[in-house]
């Protein structure tokens, strides 16, 4: 049985096997991501409950672990209201667009080293980071369209805020990673990971977040911009419950409403994966030789586990921060983006470039 499968696999042409394995990886990565989206919601609800001295949802299944299933069933079977005053096409389009950028970006994230002969990345693009930023900038359309399509004031205000916020922080975000690529020398995300292998001072990981002050600063700017880009507290102005009664998603109900939430959590996961890849060594750990591509299937699975573990830690941080700090005021947000982060990111690029030039001249 296994032999015949093997023979069939070996008999495939290169194109056929690429097609087969890429679809398997795509389906796998997509399912893992959707699973994580569901359980990030549980994580959020439980962690926020604990922080507020409550217990949180613990009734559905053991420890409340089947809660996402219940939520999903509810979202699908609820009556879906389309208010008479909305612009119907955009109203339907917006929730779809909420999920798409995050899923598309999954393609370039190296989520493991190798499993068998397959590299654990869907598309090892040489312009990986450019692709990422290209897709990330599409993320704003779902919120803008939702705000515009709803044709009422609170969603509209949410949409406007979101446009301004996402556009501002995209600049800071994009510029913050340039020093990393100055170090690495190309735009491929797999080579970013290769550049972070090994240790410094014997024990500390050689990750970009810890490597030197410039890359650390880059990480700080990227982190804050990531919060702004994913509309998470302290930058959740587009959906500010208290001021805008929910913001861009006011007019939505049932599964369309749930799509926005899935989009938000998918974006959180994606941005966490980006941070892990760019600043925390991706699937590597500097100890026990875990920073070299795996040669055995167990090693390959272990690398995927390491990657998911790092992403999970970032998700916990995202959730925790939401229940820790209040929201920024709108002018503070803009001030921070345009008058602090963009100049600092620019200066960071300059300093890094000068430092690299000086080092190569030595």
């Amino acid at each position: 049985m296994i032999e015949s499968v093997n023979n069939w696999l070996n008999g495939l042409s290169d194109t056929q096997s690429l097609l087969l394995f890429t679809s398997i990886k795509a389906i796998g990565a997509f399912s893992v991501m959707m699973f994580m989206v569901a359980y990030t919601v549980v994580l959020e609800r439980r962690l926020c409950a604990w922080i507020q001295d409550r217990i949180g949802p613990n009734r559905v299944g053991p420890f409340g672990l089947l809660q996402p299933a219940a939520d999903g069933i509810k979202a699908f079977f609820k009556e879906e209201m389309t208010p008479a005053h909305v612009r119907k096409i955009f109203f339907t389009l917006a929730p779809m667009l909420a999920l798409i950028p995050a899923i598309l970006n999954l393609a370039v994230i190296p989520f493991g080293s190798t499993l068998g002969k397959q590299p654990m990345v869907l598309a090892d693009l040489n312009v990986g980071i450019l692709y990422t930023f290209g897709i990330v900038s599409l993320g704003v359309y779902s919120i803008v369209l939702a705000g515009y399509a709803a044709n009422s004031k609170y969603p509209f205000l949410g949409g406007i805020r979101s446009t301004a916020q996402l556009i501002s922080y995209e600049i800071a975000m994009g510029m913050s990673v340039i020093p990393i690529f100055l170090y690495v020398g190309n735009l491929n995300l797999s080579s970013v990971i290769t550049a972070q292998t090994g240790t410094q001072l014997g024990v500390l990981p050689n990750w970009f977040a810890l490597q030197n002050p410039m890359t650390f600063l880059a990480f700080c700017i990227f982190l804050v911009s990531a919060f702004a880009e994913t509309n998470r507290t302290p930058f959740d102005l587009p959906e500010a419950e208290q001021e805008l009664a929910g913001g861009y998603n006011v007019e939505y109900s049932a599964i369309k409403f749930a799509m926005f939430f899935m989009g938000e959590y998918a974006n959180m996961i994606l941005v966490s994966a980006m941070m892990v890849t760019l600043f925390f060594g991706g699937w590597t750990l500097p100890w026990f030789g875990l920073d070299q591509p795996a040669t055995t299937p167990i090693g390959g699975v272990l690398h995927i586990g390491i990657f998911l573990g790092k992403v999970f830690l970032f998700l916990v941080m995202f959730v925790w921060i939401r229940w820790m700090w209040p929201r920024f005021r709108y002018d503070q947000l803009m001030d921070l983006g345009w008058r602090r982060f963009i100049p600092v990111a620019l200066a960071n690029i300059l300093v890094t470039a000068v430092w690299l030039w000086w080092r190569s001249a030595q």
């Binding site: 962690l47 409950a49 604990w50 922080i51 001295d53 409550r54 217990i55 820790m324 700090w325």
Partner: protein
């Protein structure tokens, strides 16, 4: 009045003290004992004097205390109580010191507002607001409690013995001055 605002120092402008403060508070609460009560499994202790559902009680001999005077029916603000008296040729009371007892006694628990007027007005101390607070049923008809059900739920109220107290009171009033 104009309040002078202290200019923020560098650490404050980087939001660092706020970040650390927020982290400390949330971490403390994260590890704290939770206040949630797991309701159907855990229940709160109903305090003395709580006004729950009104039920009919029996005396220490297990006889019906209600004498069908209908005062509670008249006083009931939402008209939740409906008493059917036995009529002139009806059944006699099952205890001494009483002429009759109700043929049927119904409380519509959907209407009852737990005000306690029935308990207050009852000359026979036959109805008491007890500790039940979560009454459920699958139909409206099921929520109308009849005499049998009310007596079963109410139980024996041996603590309050009206006729014994009346005798004691009468004895006290024989001497002067009357004690408070």
């Amino acid at each position: 009045m104009i309040i002078k605002r202290k200019p923020l120092n560098l650490a404050e402008r980087l939001y660092l003290p706020a970040i650390i403060g927020g982290f400390k508070v949330t971490l403390r609460h994260l590890l704290k004992k939770k206040v949630t009560m797991q309701y159907p499994e855990e229940k709160w202790v109903v305090p003395e004097g709580y006004r729950g559902a009104p039920y009919l009680v029996k005396d220490q001999e297990g006889n019906t205390k209600c004498v069908s005077c209908q005062l509670c029916e008249f006083v009931c603000p939402p008209k939740a109580i409906k008493i059917t008296p036995p009529g002139p040729a009806g059944q006699l009371a099952d205890r001494a010191n009483a002429e009759k007892m109700p043929k049927e006694f119904e409380i519509n628990m959907l209407r009852c507002i737990f005000c306690g007027f029935c308990q207050e007005v009852c000359p026979e101390e036959a109805i008491f607001l007890q500790k039940d607070y979560s009454l459920t049923g699958t139909s409206r008809a099921e929520m109308i409690y009849n005499k049998e059900k009310l007596l079963a739920l109410g139980g024996v109220h041996a603590g309050v013995q009206k006729w014994k107290h009346k005798a004691d009171e009468a004895k006290e009033q024989e001497s002067f001055p009357v004690k408070a």
